[in-house]
Subunit: 411 residues, 2 copies
């Protein structure tokens, strides 16, 4: 191979983020390339969650809504996510799931473009983005969806745009291929057509330095690169210029202007708080906030540089191994997020065989193997070991063992 | 007073639920009468949450979606809530907040009654029920809301019903007064008018033995009497006869028939699973499930008997003290849930003064002091001590101290 394991260890020794790995509790003997799906556990998260459970809930009980800041968690947590997506204070609200936030964003933004009845979606969008748009459009009536074809890129978007388009919903990073869109260019293109741009940042926040820029709204999750824990609160970004015009269709009491006045009628809070709905799952916010403590201390440019170097290294090593894999991720590091994907007709058993050898990736239909490189806790030597194991599984046909064929519920 | 503290201690010694109190971690010196708002911490919850964080997430990581049953949490947890509301397996799904579930229930059920354009709500409903209906109706268009006046009861409902009514949304227990509605009678009345009945069980599940019976849909929370923790997952009940007809408007991938096929179009799962939307907040489910372990072992008839006896005792003791409080809760124990409320023009500082003396209740605008009696962990002697403290705060005008006037964010 073009680079030796010892050389990878030397890269790790020079890595400016090398100490950040110590902030994570990683099981021994595992190369965890699934941080693009569920991030690793930060070492201080258990203590933070335990404090919330045992002290805030167990000792101070209901008073913690005030004294522990529970009531403000959607805003205070949102303000800590904001720098990771290029947003400012009062622009991001943490809560609900990504899917629920997509629903809020789409149904809230459509009335901003009265008379326009088309929502542009993308066959490459993560399915829930598509499903939620379909449900919203069916419920609202009189809207239609226009799909950009798979892999059509900017030209496909141009074809879909027109003066009937109310909004466009796209992912910054393609969940299958890891391809990275130019947010600023796409947002400009959509705005030139007079439409609203909503971004899904699930696969980009924490993987690349995101700049929401001129985007109108954005949503994302915190359990992937942000390491907030399984099902951690998602978030919604609403540009300040829209905050008083966009209504939250799921208008629950946590988004009311005076929630404890118990007024008979809904009256939205000012600012991003109006996008809150019901009681926040406090324990899940505690875990997320423990992770955000780490993010406050890292330089996103260093994260990006390491991500690009690690993914390039992995691609080179797999190239050198001479497998029959087809790279699904752009070779240009400027055009990808922090994952590397390969197509292989037997990708599923290959991923299972790899996991049995301690290299954890995942599989997405129909034929995509995904390997996520979370720069906060992965080392160059992990990329080396993963590429070596992948080459071996393919070279030795280890994936043909029949126990790897059986599908698990969650693939 | 009509009964002595020693007599209350004797009642506690005979209480068939007396050992259940040991399952809770209660701070010393506090009489916690806020279990109707945030239930106490079960003693085994910290360990259960820690296991989910440190082992399921920290060690097994993404594999836990399969191996720890994370993917199935909405259904498996729902099946454990079901017996508490008189429902069967496959009828309850745990997830999201109550407000989001109200939105799903209302928007999903309205198409069951095509041509009928009225939603009946109640000025006594908890505000979020009203707010969410208002948001849903505004988004869907062409529906209107008809309000039942405050305190109007069954006659008010009869006046509101008509052949234009599509659905009725009511709470079984009034959040201010604790008044208990006859679910079976109201459901029958609504069905006779041809409308859909949706119940909000937030203030009743765990407080009284609920029987969903012929109800069409129901929603509820788990952080009050069910002790699931702050912002614990809420739930939705959908009667089996409606499960294939009601669609989930917030149609996310967790409710898809084949979520890992990543199909381009939404196709709802069969059964109650279709009401799932996005990734479940796993840590919050862990806490809830620790509490449901306790609920599996208690007899709901004993819970109800103790609730009625404790609330009756409290009312008698406050009666005997000769205060100027006005009882807002029905005197007939068959007609109330598990809380006792009093009206007092200075209810807010009275509640604050009581809290300073270790008796924790809360206040609801405009003048209601609420005292929740959670039968799993409260004792008769707690009711005695609370009534004694309340009488003293009023008799000695202790609430007039100016530091009690200042409103906290969360009241």
């Amino acid at each position: 191979m073009a680079i030796t394991r010892a050389e990878c260890q030397a890269l790790d020794a020079r890595d400016p983020l090398r100490d950040v790995r110590d902030e994570f509790a990683l099981p021994p003997g595992i190369v965890y390339l699934l941080g693009n799906s569920l991030g690793a556990l930060p070492r201080r998260t258990p203590e933070r969650v335990a404090r919330t459970v045992e002290t805030e809930w167990g000792v101070h009980m209901g008073a913690s809504w005030n004294t522990a800041g529970w009531w403000d968690l959607p805003e205070s947590t949102g303000d800590r996510i904001a720098p990771l997506i290029g947003a400012g204070p009062g622009q991001v609200l943490a809560g609900d799931s990504t899917s629920v936030n997509i629903f809020k964003a789409v149904t809230g933004a459509l009335p901003l473009r009265p008379g326009r009845r088309v929502v542009v979606s993308d066959l490459d969008n993560f399915p829930t983005d598509r499903y939620v748009v379909q449900g919203a459009v069916a419920a609202l009536g009189s809207y239609e969806i226009r799909d950009i074809g798979s892999g059509a890129g900017l030209a496909g978007l141009e074809d879909a745009l027109g003066d009937d388009v109310a909004l466009v919903l796209l992912s910054q990073v393609d969940y299958r291929t890891g391809a990275l869109r130019d947010m600023a260019a796409v947002t400009r293109q959509v705005h030139e057509a007079g439409a609203i741009m909503i971004w899904d940042l699930c696969h980009s926040a924490g993987a690349v330095p995101v700049e929401v820029g001129e985007a109108d709204l954005a949503v994302g999750c915190t359990y992937k690169y942000l390491n907030g824990g399984p099902g951690a609160p998602a978030y919604i970004y609403v540009a300040p210029r829209h905050q008083e015009a966009v209504r939250n269709v799921i208008s629950g009491w946590h988004g009311h202007a005076a929630p404890f006045a118990f007024e008979p009628d809904y009256r939205p809070a000012t600012g991003v708080r109006r996008f809150a709905t019901g009681s926040p799952p406090v324990l899940s916010y505690a875990a997320l906030n423990a992770s955000l403590d780490i993010w406050e201390r890292v330089d996103l440019r260093e994260v990006r540089a390491k991500s690009q170097a690690m993914t390039s290294l992995f691609i080179e090593l797999v190239d050198d191994a001479g497998t029959d894999l087809v790279l699904a991720t752009p070779r240009d590091p400027e055009r990808r997020g922090s994952q590397v994907s390969y197509r292989h007709p037997d990708g599923y058993p290959v991923v299972r065989a790899l996991a049995d050898r301690g290299v954890v990736g995942d599989f997405r239909e129909p034929d995509v193997m995904r390997f996520g490189f979370a720069p906060l806790y992965l080392r160059y030597v992990d990329a080396y070991d993963a590429a070596t194991a992948l080459a071996e599984v393919l070279r030795e046909d280890l994936w043909r063992d029949e126990r790897y064929a059986r599908r698990l519920t969650v693939t």
